[in-house]
Symmetry: C2
Subunit: 95 residues, 2 copies
């Protein structure tokens, strides 16, 4: 039984690494979007776009996480991307 836990934990480790890779790829793309928005004078925060993303994620959620958990996790990811875009602007305007 404990060997089975070890085996499942190796699966979790693999998934963690894949999530890290995807989050990082997402961060790079969000930065690029942020740079274009700054050039065009558009705001980074777009509540309608966030609602649209949450709606399709909740609609496609296969479980086992409840919709509320999926929403909360993705809101944290959106917040992290927005922070990245805002820090990028600060660097641009400071130097």
């Amino acid at each position: 039984m404990e060997a089975r836990i070890q085996e499942l934990r190796r699966e979790i480790d693999r998934i963690n690494r894949e999530i890290l890779r995807l989050l990082s790829e997402r961060g790079r793309i969000a930065s690029e979007i942020g740079r274009i928005q700054t050039e065009l004078g558009l705001p980074h925060y777009d509540p309608a776009r966030e609602e649209e993303m949450l709606a399709y994620l909740v609609a496609e959620n296969p479980g086992p996480f409840p919709a509320s958990t999926i929403k909360n996790l993705f809101k944290e990811i959106f917040r992290a991307s927005l922070d990245l875009e805002e820090r990028q602007d600060q660097k641009k305007f400071l130097y």
Copy 2:
């Protein structure tokens, strides 16, 4: 430029779906680990295991997110998994 934002947003949508798929797969595996732990009388929360996961994720973090962001996002994922395991126990003991 706005067309480029649209294109990048489609990339973000694809990545969101992949993250949803991986989170859900991770949730199913965490539930299975939780069931075994309950059978063996082991606690679900294992701070040493969480520290180990955070340490390798921070070590492998390619950016652009800072280590603090990666840690916070994964702590939220760990918290969601623990909630899932605890709700599962409640159902087991209630019915």
